[in-house]
């Protein structure tokens, strides 16, 4: 079982590589109720009564974008400590109570926001919602829990250095974004984590974990009236306050070519090639989606996979993706291949990037890409959990409730000329960042 799951997990990762640039679904079919409460909390609700479960997702607009560089890791530490004790409950009480009802609570910080989730059976929704609300509003941030979590995060950062892909990704973001928050790990570094105090946590929490800075999305076996009661009972005292915007370090300007070689005793070279990409509100998002699907986002239908895996047999996984964030994200192509073939594979990836910038894609390619992108979205919303997460993120990125109706139109209006135009505009075969984690002696990179 353990081993067999790996393939699946990898597969889902691949799918999600391009799934997160495709936020498009038939919202009209979801029947979503949206409202903004008096305290400023945005609530999205979709009733699904076929199974007695309820999935809750809250987005709080708090992320590395809001933390000082010398305290990098602050938003992550706040998220990690939410369920480690509140004003009335110890850490162990929270996990005991939530797990006794077979429910789960999770909290994590990402590049743009913090997500807190609850998965609970209908019959236990009172208890689940009570704990969920409590950890969001009343975390205690006890010194003892802070010290424990600090050590766990530092240890886990050390542990992850075993993974070539972790080393490569960390170096890549640093080179692309420099001092901008996207250039560092959400976890921060051991040094910045060490500098975070309990006061920092309390201050960050009270500043950002407020209803007028949050989106609540609830999907499942719950009526509007039932949800109102829950919110009134458990979030009734949650008060809005004013917010001050923080100055964020600017993104680097001109792109230049940078090559970073990390030596490690491994059999495979892990390679990332890429540069800055686009933000989520860029109108070229749709043309970029189609273009990237053809280049390296479309799994076995993509050019990179066909060439490097199917024809050359040089990799198990090769892909490309954009991460359209609140601010500009990355474009990256990634691959693992035996040390000895690293040069060949890099050359081929660059060749494919040049090719899609030089000639129009074929009719067959563009029509397949469009039919996948438009035809696959109901499937990406096939569980209540996915719908809850989706609604929250659609709201965060301001895509609007009619987004799903418009999405197919946007995709279908993309022409071959558009694909060529965005490939030329957003792909750069000269000024890219190239990271390789490899046995450098064997890889002998020409770059």
């Amino acid at each position: 079982m353990k081993n067999s799951k790996f393939r699946k997990i990898l597969f889902f990762l691949l799918i999600f590589n391009f799934a997160f640039l495709i936020l498009h679904f038939p919202l009209y079919a979801l029947d979503v109720q949206k409202r903004v409460l008096n305290n400023g909390l945005t609530v999205l609700h979709s009733e699904k009564h076929n199974i007695p479960i309820i999935m809750v997702t809250m987005i709080v607009k708090a992320s590395p974008l809001n933390e000082p560089q010398e305290k990098a890791g602050l938003s992550n530490l706040v998220a990690e400590l939410l369920d480690e004790g509140t004003k009335t409950k110890k850490s162990s009480d929270i996990s005991e109570e939530i797990e006794f009802i077979g429910a789960s609570i999770g909290a994590s910080a990402g590049s743009d926001y913090t997500t807190i989730t609850l998965s609970v059976l209908k019959k236990d929704v009172q208890k689940g919602f009570e704990l969920f609300s409590d950890i969001i509003q009343n975390p205690a941030f006890l010194q003892e829990e802070l010290e424990r979590k600090r050590e766990l995060i530092k240890g886990s950062l050390k542990h992850r250095e075993e993974e070539p892909s972790f080393l490569a990704g960390r170096a890549f973001h640093k080179e692309v974004f420099g001092e901008h928050p996207y250039g560092r790990l959400v976890e921060g570094t051991p040094e910045t984590i060490s500098s975070i105090t309990r006061e920092d946590l309390v201050e960050f929490h009270s500043r950002y974990f407020i209803p007028n800075n949050a989106i609540l999305s609830v999907v499942g076996d719950l009526t509007g009236a039932e949800l109102d009661l829950l919110i009134k009972r458990y979030m009734g005292d949650w008060k809005s306050t004013g917010m001050t915007e923080k100055q964020i370090n600017p993104m680097p300007g001109e792109k230049t070519r940078k090559v970073v070689k990390i030596d490690k005793d491994v059999t495979q070279a892990t390679i990332i090639i890429g540069h800055m990409g686009i933000s989520r509100d860029n109108p070229d998002y749709y043309a970029v989606s189609v273009m990237n699907y053809i280049l390296g986002g479309g799994g076995f239908s993509s050019r990179l996979m066909q060439k490097i895996r199917d024809d050359m047999g040089l990799a198990y996984d090769v892909h490309s993706f954009f991460t359209p964030n609140k601010e500009k994200g990355v474009f990256q192509a990634g691959v693992q291949t035996k040390n000895e073939s690293a040069n060949t594979v890099i050359e081929e990836i660059l060749k494919q990037i040049e090719r899609i910038r030089k000639e129009e894609v074929s009719d067959e390619e563009i029509s397949s890409a469009k039919s996948y992108l438009t035809g696959s979205f109901p499937r990406r919303l096939d569980t209540n959990r996915k719908i809850a997460d989706f609604l929250a993120s659609v709201e965060f990125y301001n895509l609007g409730l009619d987004y799903a109706e418009k999405y197919p139109l946007y995709i279908n209006s993309v022409t071959k000329a558009d694909v060529l135009r965005v490939a030329r505009k957003y792909l750069d075969p000269e000024n890219f960042v190239l990271i390789s984690v490899a046995n450098q002696k064997k890889a002998e990179l020409r770059y």
Binding site: M1, K2, N3, S4, K5, F6, R7, K8, K48, H49, N50, I51, P52, I53, M55, D83, S91, S92, E99, F100, I101, G102, S104, S119, L121, K122, K123, K154, G155, H159, E161, E162, E163, V266, T267, Q268, G298, G299, F300, S301, Q306, R309, D310, M312, G313, L314, A315, Y316, D317, Q336, S368, S371, Y372, F377, R379, L381, D382, T383, N384, N439
Partner: protein, 441 residues
Amino acid sequence: MLLLTTMKKILSIIFFIILIPVSLYAEVKEYTLKNGLKVIVVEDHKAPLATFQIWYRVGSRNELAGKSGMSHLLEHMMFKGTPKYGSKAFSKIVQKNGGIDNAFTTKDYTMYYQSLASDRINLSIELEADRMNNLIMDPKEVIAERSVVMEERRMRYEDDPQTSLYEEVVATAFKSHPYHWPVIGWMSDLSSIERDDLYSHYRAYYSPDNAVIVVSGDIAADEIIKKIKALFENIPPVSGRKNVLSKEAEQQGEKRVALKKEAELPYIIAAYHTPSFPSEDSYALEVLGMILSGGKSSRLYKSLVYEKKLALYAYADYNGFNKDPYLFLFGATSSPGRDVKDLENALYGEIDRIKNELPLEKEVQKAKNQIEASFIMGLDSIYFQAEILGMFEMIGDWKMKEQYLEGIRKVMPDDVSRVAKKYLNEENRTIGILIPMKNSK
């Protein structure tokens, strides 16, 4: 719908004792075609989607020494085309129709699936029927795909110290049974697998009477079965499969294995031979696994990670869904600067504790609630609904799912301590330790 409403009322009355009566789960329909192909259908009309899965009863368990990894390589070759649909056409057609497809191989079985809009599910039936019988397997493609699998092996095993240790431990725990080798195969075996080996493997095991189809989603069972009959029933069953008779002899003393590899932190795995489901003891073993490792309130997390701070992560995992007896596994990553020996002893301390003192009634109930809730949450996904039936079918019969839940509900605290005493002992243990080495270059 009526049924569900009634059910919800009942649910609010019964509290912790029995979470969910049997009938919450959708009705399952079963058919067997003349050629022995079994078809299981679950209608779930919540969204216009469907999942098609075909399960073949073949995995690394059915391989011979020197040819490990054949079943998994064959799985890769299944995407390489038939005379009707060329190489890699399969995935492209599915994607063009807005669907996804993939496959995976385990020790006991190989499963292929597609998830599509329900009005296109016939595509799955056509494509799967075609490749069950008409695979080309071009020798050149076999050689190319062999290299792809070698890259896959490098990525998952060679360059991942913890997975490498897992492979060592399992190979040490099993000396005669084919569970000895990894599903992906040994590197040297991979290079020796020829086209003809794969083709005979395909012919012997990809027979309709060795397969099960599970379809779930927004479909009409009668229509689906008609279509499946039309396309699959003329595929003749083949004989010549050999039963796997190998049995691992009882272990008579602890085995230890050390792995020195470039890594950041020490890692320990403890593996104990245990029977698989539906053995009488399997239910209590499942509950035992949950008590030890089901979340942050579980014993291993609380003791090794939270209180003693010896480990960054720690888990216990009873692997009961296998054809033959497999392993109850423990694993823990050492915290930086701590001695892995202390971690090992602390792990044994927790095992001794549950052997010597009965777990609390409430702890057992929590574990049962977690298992039961995970089944109900799983109903959210049509893929999972199909998968769970397929998994039970691979070890016997999909109807064993009920037996499983019933068995879990009956577990008492003394059952948990009893199975811990019976299986988690030194004689039956294989220990693996990862010793991190510095980069020598």
